[in-house]
């Protein structure tokens, strides 16, 4: 054992470069694996973790205060299956709160004394918790990006409550289950004349439905209920669409990492055959020889793997915290322990297996065979290829270089695979980024609606809440439009109307939108069907199709304030809106419809922040402004680019290793060539040509794999989110991008070969000729 250890230590010291390469390859691969696995866990994980920690409400039920008493509701806390409950809290809908940083429309305000409590603990993001009446704490809305500097500072502002004293905003909180939009003290809530009670429940079985707590209550007692699943879906929706892409990407990364580790490790053993022969000649048993080689690889392997886990964790921590912020999940989380364990054990096992196989083979070699492995002439391989290349009119260093990969087909195949997977990953990731960008641009309809303003928030009252006051907008639509057009930086203003309607068969309110200018398309991309041509037609978006179960050609019945109309789905558009129809059709169920919703395109170079600021100046401080929030997707894309970079580094290192091994193998050959009069530059050309050729072949294969993977995965991934991608979003690879992507292989090959090629060219001929 001592001898084995000594021999292994000596081997590690003698092969410093190779040891370093193994260590770095294993480290980068492990970090990539941790990041990929960590991400997969994170996309689905942080919400659940935060939900458990903050005692999120599985069910949030709103009761009609006229139909059921608070005492009766308190009793529901003791029903079977309920593990914790909070409430009943007095609840009131404030119709015209008009708070910057909250979605436009009425807000639900709940009277609650305690920021924590048994269910739905609130996390303070800004300001402080309530200390008395006259104060309100509002919820941070992840969907609203408020960038209007001072205009977005809500703390300290006052909310006018029609018929009551104004409330001062003292804090902004995050609620994991989004149970309300604002909280006041119970006394303050009573002062607002509440008609409803809110009860929050946690169940032993998270899938428990509302009937479990409402079965014994009088009919009509339940005004509404919301499962935590909606909030959960809402919180993770952006990144969830990326999961199938990430899975594919993760698998691609894993395969590339496995191949490269296999290549590097087995190459290290094979290149040491002569050393093995010497060990055996000294009396080492086959088991000891195997042990020497396994230990030799295990040392850098374990060190690399450990560092990789640490680096992967650091990167994942950074990325998941960015993602948590983007998804508005209260607290950041890192990588789960199981990811580290799997990465450590998996990569460790991989290194062990890939070193063990050739090491065992080496252990079985006869000493004479092993000793002669470096010195005896090798049988030429791929003779026909060598002969053909020699006969071409290519410069001889080039044809010699082209022939090199054929001399070691096994190693060449592994290197080719490593380059191909590296390029495939880059191709796939690039296509994914381009397609997602196309999709996001489609959702944003290019620059047509960079910013949207709703000037009639008070008009947007969800079904069932219609009894409250309906104060009109501060400005008439014409005035608002004129002011928007006059704003510096405005390129175009598109007026529209957006109103929540009730679609028969769908519980939640659905937004209906129409433009006053007939059937114009306004930048919408169509995934299927056609655009509006006739009255009583609607175009819907993918999520509506998915949630409603409707299909193209189906007829839906839309109801608004008792008026109903049947509308036919003629197209499916890309976008965030739900139902789009023509102005006349929408006016038919909403007499006196006014364009109170404005979409602005900005002039080139106009800063969003500055524009939002000027918007507040023009239309008032308490203004609801919507900008697209692609934070989750941006983080996912950023992460994918990080992973791609990791894979490219690993691929380049794999190639580097192959060239180092090949250069060592070929030391004598290069010495011969130099003795015959080959210049250093020509020797460099031989080495570089061999790898550039491999890089090009790997690049072409990789591009093909990447493009196919993109075309197969992208539509499937989109479908899981209820999105049908227009085929144009898949045709993202232009001829130039394909050439550039294929040349990524050449870049990998050249980068990997540059340093060893330099060594080869500087070899001392006399020394090289003596090398065996």
């Amino acid at each position: 054992m001592k001898a084995t250890w000594r021999a292994a230590r000596a081997a590690v010291r003698r092969r410093r470069l190779q040891t370093l390469i193994i260590g770095v390859v294993v480290m980068v691969s492990t970090a990539t694996i941790v990041l990929a696995l960590g991400l997969l866990a994170t996309v689905d994980g942080p919400y659940d973790k935060a939900f458990a920690r903050l005692q999120g409400a599985h069910l949030n039920v709103s009761y009609d205060g006229d139909k059921v008493s608070a005492d009766r509701l308190s009793a529901t806390a003791h029903l079977p299956g309920v593990t914790a409950s909070a409430g009943p809290f007095a609840s009131v809908v404030v119709q015209d709160a008009n708070v910057v940083g909250l979605r436009p429309g009425p807000i639900t305000v709940v009277g609650r004394a305690d920021q924590n409590g048994p269910v739905d603990r609130l996390v303070l993001a800004e300001g402080r918790w309530l200390t008395g009446p006259g104060e309100i704490v509002i919820r941070k809305d992840p969907h609203i990006h408020c960038r209007g500097s001072a205009a977005c500072e809500n703390v300290g502002k006052r909310i006018a409550i029609p018929g009551h004293s104004p409330l001062t905003i003292v804090g902004v909180v995050r609620s994991i289950t989004q149970t309300a939009d604002g909280w006041v003290t119970p006394a303050q809530a009573q002062a607002l004349n509440p008609h409803s009670f809110q009860m929050l429940y946690r169940f032993a079985d998270s899938s428990t439905g509302v009937s479990a707590v409402t079965a014994d209550l009088p009919p009509g007692a339940v005004a509404g209920s919301q499962s935590y699943r909606i909030a959960r879906l809402d919180a993770t929706e952006g990144a969830k669409a990326a999961i199938p892409f990430l899975l594919t990407f993760g698998v691609l990364g894993l395969v590339a990492a496995v191949l490269i580790i296999g290549n590097v490790v087995s190459g290290a053993v094979v290149s040491g055959y002569r050393h093995i022969g010497v060990l055996k000649a000294l009396g080492f048993t086959p088991a000891q020889v195997t042990g020497v080689y396994v230990v030799m690889i295990a040392v850098p392997g374990v060190i690399g793997c450990s560092f990789g886990v640490v680096i992967g964790n650091l990167l994942a921590r950074f990325i998941t915290s960015s993602m948590d912020e983007a998804l508005d999940i209260p607290t950041a989380t890192g990588v789960a322990l199981w990811v580290d364990v799997v990465a450590l054990a998996g990569v460790g096992a991989l290194v062990a297996v890939t070193s063990l196989v050739p090491a065992v083979r080496a252990g079985r070699l006869s000493a004479a065979q092993a000793v002669s492995a470096g010195a005896a002439p090798r049988r030429g391989r791929a003779l026909r290829v060598q002969r053909l290349l020699a006969r071409t009119s290519l410069p001889r260093p080039v044809s010699l270089g082209l022939g090199l990969p054929f001399a070691r087909p096994g190693r060449t195949a592994l290197t080719l695979a490593a380059v191909a997977f590296g390029v495939a990953a880059v191709t796939f990731a690039s296509g994914l980024v381009w397609s997602l960008n196309a999709f996001m641009a489609g959702q944003d309809r290019g620059d047509v609606a960079a910013i949207s303003v709703d000037t009639a928030m008070s008009a947007r009252i969800p079904p069932g809440m219609e009894g409250g006051p309906k104060p009109g907008p501060a400005l008439s639509p014409a005035q608002a439009e004129a002011r928007l057009r006059a704003l510096p930086g405005t390129e175009q203003v598109t007026p529209a109307a957006v109103q929540p309607v009730h679609v028969i068969g769908i519980n939640d309110a659905t937004d209906m939108k129409a433009y006053p200018d007939g059937f114009a398309r306004h930048g919408y991309d169509l995934a299927r069907g056609r655009w509006l041509q006739n009255p009583a037609e609607i175009v819907v978006t993918g999520p509506f199709m998915k949630s409603s179960g409707m299909r193209l050609g189906d007829t839906v019945t839309v109801e608004f304030e008792g008026r109903r109309t049947a509308l036919r789905i003629v197209g499916q558009a890309v976008g965030r809106d739900q139902i789009i129809t023509d102005w006349a059709t929408m006016s038919a169920i909403m007499p006196g419809l006014q364009p109170t919703y404005f979409e602005m395109a900005l002039k080139k170079g106009v800063s969003l922040d500055a524009y939002v600021h000027s918007l507040h100046g023009a239309l008032g401080e308490s203004l609801a402004i919507s900008m697209q929030n692609n934070g989750g997707i941006d983080v996912v894309l950023g992460l994918m680019m990080t992973l791609t970079l990791g894979l490219m580094v690993v691929s380049a290192l794999g190639v580097f290793n192959t060239v180092v091994l090949n250069t060592r193998d070929r030391t004598r050959d290069f010495g011969i060539l130099k003795s015959l009069g080959t210049t250093p530059r020509q020797v460099m050309a031989v080495v570089l040509t061999s790898m550039v050729a491999l890089g090009l072949a790997g690049g072409l294969i990789g591009v093909a794999i990447g493009v196919v993977a993109h075309h197969v995965v992208m539509p499937k991934a989109a479908a899981t989110g209820g999105i049908t991608l227009p085929s144009a979003y898949l045709q993202v690879y232009g001829p130039l991008s394909l050439v550039l992507l294929a040349s990524a292989g050449v870049v990998i090959g050249t980068l990997g070969a540059l340093i060893p090629a330099g060594w080869a060219s500087r070899l001392r001929t006399a020394t090289a000729l003596r090398s065996e």
Binding site: A376, P377, R378, R379, G380, R381, L383, Q386, R387, A390, R391, S393, R396, L400, G403, L404, A407, R668, D669, G671, I672, L673, K674, S675, L676, G677, T678, T679, P680, R681, Q682, R764, T765, A766, L769
Partner: protein, 223 residues
């Protein structure tokens, strides 16, 4: 006879080890010189210096009026291509190329068109009696055959000087004899020859002049 190579006080040191300790030597055109001496006496180092494979620590090597120490690595490579032919003890053939391609390669390095190079190589293979082995790979050739391929390669570009480092050292006696005959014939037709050998028979049979070497110096020159 005209001087082909002139070495003046050539020294070569590898760290603390002195391989050549001030060698002064002339080789004339058409001459066959054998350098003999025990292992480690600096014979091969001398050969490497003359071939431009290595540079002296001090002293000058002038080849046909050109001081090799003034040449860059690239210029030295070009010098070797055109003026030097080398025959090695262990042949140093490229294992991945068939015999004929090993020989053609050096002609291609100086820009000889392939057809012309092939014709010249075939001519040499015929003369050396290995024409039927032209498509064989080094691994399947006998030692004597490999050395003849090595000689053909060395002669391919019609070098001014043929250097041979223990050309019979790895051969059986019969193959060794054949190579000796070959070198003798070459010298007789005017090929300048500098060989390093332990083989007294080779030296006495092929060399016009034998130089004894010890501890990196010329100890005796025998005509």
């Amino acid at each position: 006879m005209e001087h082909l190579v002139q070495l003046t006080d050539v020294r070569k040191e590898y760290g603390d080890t002195t391989a050549l300790a001030g060698v002064t030597l002339d080789i004339r055109q058409g001459e066959a010189v054998a350098v003999m001496g025990p292992s480690g006496s600096g014979k091969s180092t001398l050969l490497n210096m003359v071939a431009g494979l290595d540079r002296p620590t001090s002293g000058t090597i002038v080849f046909q009026g050109e001081d090799l120490s003034t040449l860059s690595e690239t210029a030295l490579a070009k010098f070797r291509r055109r003026r030097i032919g080398m025959v090695f003890q262990f042949f140093n053939l490229l294992d991945d190329l068939p015999a004929l391609e090993n020989v053609i390669l050096v002609a291609q390095l100086i820009g000889t068109p392939r057809k012309q190079a092939q014709a010249r190589a075939m001519e040499l293979f015929e003369e050396l009696g290995i024409a039927d082995r032209r498509n064989a790979y080094p691994a399947v050739l006998s030692g004597g055959e490999r050395q003849r391929v090595g000689v053909a390669r060395a002669l391919m570009n019609r070098p001014s000087l043929l250097l041979a480092d223990e050309p019979t050292g790895a051969l059986d006696s019969r193959s060794g004899e054949q190579v000796m005959d070959l070198l003798q014939d070459l010298n007789q037709i005017g090929q300048t020859l500098l060989m390093v050998t332990h083989d007294e028979k080779l030296a006495s049979r092929c060399a016009d002049r034998v130089i004894e070497f010890a501890d990196g110096r010329v100890t005796e020159a025998v005509r």
